[in-house]
Symmetry: C2
Subunit: 419 residues, 2 copies
């Protein structure tokens, strides 16, 4: 018997009820926030065609894809991200959808990674996307919804920041430094590795891409730019990228989250399809990986075979935000108690307990009815560890008097209820 | 371009926002009902170890499993049902969990089936299980929660029934007919095919299992039993199976759903692990497959390698109930409108629209803020098709007067709001 494993497959997560309290705190906040901002829910199966993923993704992602064949030899995969699926679904109905559309999904995504530092091979990700508008208001709405989600989870503003940059701006600055446009994609990929590999190694990557020492030096100088004004001095105040960034900060001001934004030219985002504003959120101590990230990707729809259309999107995973929340709120962050636990001493009181539970449920109350007779001590111990707000225990005396004690498990206050 | 497919992989479902309205009607009702009855949420990854599934499942299921290997050669599968995973998770913490436990999950499950009659290869399933109690109250609580879910979805009681039987009862009756216990499992499997194949074919199956003509005739006679009283006359009033069934019907009476229950000895449930009461819900016209089903499976935990423990569970898929709901409520069953759609004529009114949206959102209102200036006709057309309850459109006159019109999209009533 001892050789039988009860563990989940490597890298996959089990969620026991105590884990689900945290997960639901996150998922519920995501849904509340997305709907608060008028996003519509969509979804698709976690199994995608491998061909779609390859059509869109770079080599790096492909190696990490869980791919398999079904019994007819169809090449399938567990999706590593939701965006190709979104693009496919939009392309399928591109002539009929009421653009601009605002869609969100809570999507499970898989990535086959070496198991370092407890990284998992699956996670859930809130995806919010707006397709069909070039307005910076799209970025502002998506970030507004993400801020609302963070606040709904109980994360204090002081604990985190959204780092904002622009691929278009960096492109303009690189061009102004004399680095030709065909090298920009490689430069973005190299710069995105900053923090993971040394600056010397990045310089070597840039050199391998054909940049000379002068250009490499200028590239690192650009990374020292640390305000939109400094960037504007280099790119020119008429730069569309600068104007878009300024508009985003101004709209965030109107929407009440400007204090959370900071310009950070070092935000690149690894994926090659971003074209404009990009952003990543971090805890202020930079102890954890990015909480969420995204940006404008005006060329993705064409990439998967649809008609070109402007789009902005973000992904917000459940793992990092869970780690940050536990760090900031503490492992035992309170959850609202609600409803009743109802117990009984012996089989003689069971019918009364069932009737009481039915009555309470009929008034809309959540009731956890005991499935076995119990001693009061055992019942109250279990009720205290549950999420019930009130506990009612029926013994022979209660039935005789027709009145039972209702214990408030938060305040310890005791009231009475007629049976 | 025309050769690119935008379809989901065969048998997999895409959910556009209009589909998600139906799906969320079902999922939300499931969660509400399970929590109303005190079930705790759990979950596990859709990827399971193939070995666990084989440990528990019969051959028939194995052939339908989506199995694959990861890059380390680990044999994995997309789970076909949640119960083996539940058993694994319970077994892993069997010495520490506060039994009896009441758990629920909304689990995606995969089954590789031939694509007949639009059957899909994945679906979602509410699983509710109670582990650690032999009391019939467990069955009553699970069915009570399922009834609550159906009512929450808007399904009228008159449209459906829960068919209840007992494997234990049928076993007693078969034994009383002289059919030895070692043949019962085969008899259950044969009888479960009733309606799918002819009675002659079932008789042939029973014959192949070694039943003689007399025993086969008696078996079919048992299927004609159509009340608990008739069954009691055969099994004896002291039969534990009869007493359990009577207790279930009595408890359902106390809980307010006895009118939905009907005794139906033909309910078998295909899976071999059921040991006691079994049930399946159907639309009254029997136009659709079972809406939900389940029963007592006291031997499952031992089967996966844990310690033996009594358990009851049910599975409630999203596909059939969705079909029945559309049939009963109509395709356009109303959904509660809520919140605001906010639009504007030109860029000049955009800042005011953003400020108004921020103000409404700060009061807790859901706001779909237009991402582009629009003509009023276009805006109101789109708002009418959305789920917003109110629409506010800002033009130059509204800004000049400082007052905007608020249109109630349900009643067409118009009120005013100060800007």
């Amino acid at each position: 018997m001892s050789t039988i494993s009860f563990e989940a497959p490597r890298g996959m997560r089990d969620f026991y009820p105590e884990d689900m309290i945290w997960r639901n705190r996150i998922f519920d906040a995501w849904r509340t926030a997305a709907e608060h901002f008028g996003f519509q829910n969509y979804d698709a199966c976690v199994v995608e065609s491998l061909e779609l993923l390859q059509r869109k993704s770079g080599e790096e992602v492909s190696e990490q894809i869980y791919a398999f064949e079904d019994k007819s030899g169809r090449k399938l995969a567990l999706r590593p991200e939701m965006t190709p699926t979104l693009a496919r679904m939009v392309a399928a109905k591109q002539s009929r959808l009421p653009f601009p559309i605002k869609w969100y999904a809570t999507a499970q995504c898989f990535r086959y990674e070496r198991m370092t530092r407890g990284r998992k091979r699956e996670h859930y990700q809130l995806n919010m996307d707006i397709v069909g508008s070039q307005e910076v208001l799209c970025e502002a709405e998506i970030l507004g919804a993400a801020v609302y989600a963070m606040r709904t989870m109980g994360m204090p503003d002081a604990a985190w920041r959204i780092h904002v940059s622009s691929r278009a701006l960096l492109g303009e600055l690189l061009a102004a430094s004399g680095i030709p446009e065909q090298q920009h994609a490689a430069v973005f990929i190299a710069l995105d590795k900053r923090g993971k590999i040394s600056d010397e190694e990045i310089a070597a990557l840039l050199k391998a891409e054909g940049l000379n020492d002068e250009a490499i030096k200028k590239t690192f100088t650009l990374l020292a730019v640390n305000s939109i004004d400094e960037a504007a001095a280099l790119a020119g105040a008429e730069s569309p990228a600068i104007q878009n960034l300024k508009e985003l900060f101004a709209t965030a001001q109107q929407m009440g989250y400007a204090d959370l934004l900071m310009f950070d030219i070092a935000v690149i985002r690894g994926l090659s399809y971003y074209t404009g504003i990009v952003f990543e959120a971090f805890d202020v101590q930079r102890k954890f990986r990015a909480i969420f990230g995204g940006g404008r990707y005006d060329s993705l729809l064409a990439l998967v075979g649809g008609q070109s259309m402007p789009a902005v999107g973000m992904g917000f995973g459940d793992v990092v935000v869970g780690e940050v929340l536990r760090e900031v709120l503490g492992e035992t962050a309170p959850v609202a108690r609600q409803g009743y636990a109802v117990g009984y001493m012996s089989v003689a009181e069971r019918a009364s307990a069932i009737a009481l539970a039915a009555r309470l449920r009929a008034t809309g109350e959540r009731v956890d009815l005991a499935l076995l007779p119990q001693k009061p001590k055992h019942f109250f111990g279990k009720a205290g560890n549950s999420l019930a707000k009130f506990a009612i225990f029926l013994g022979p005396d209660d039935l005789a008097s027709g009145v039972a004690q209702v214990k408030n498990l938060e305040t310890r206050e005791v009231t009475q209820v007629q049976l």
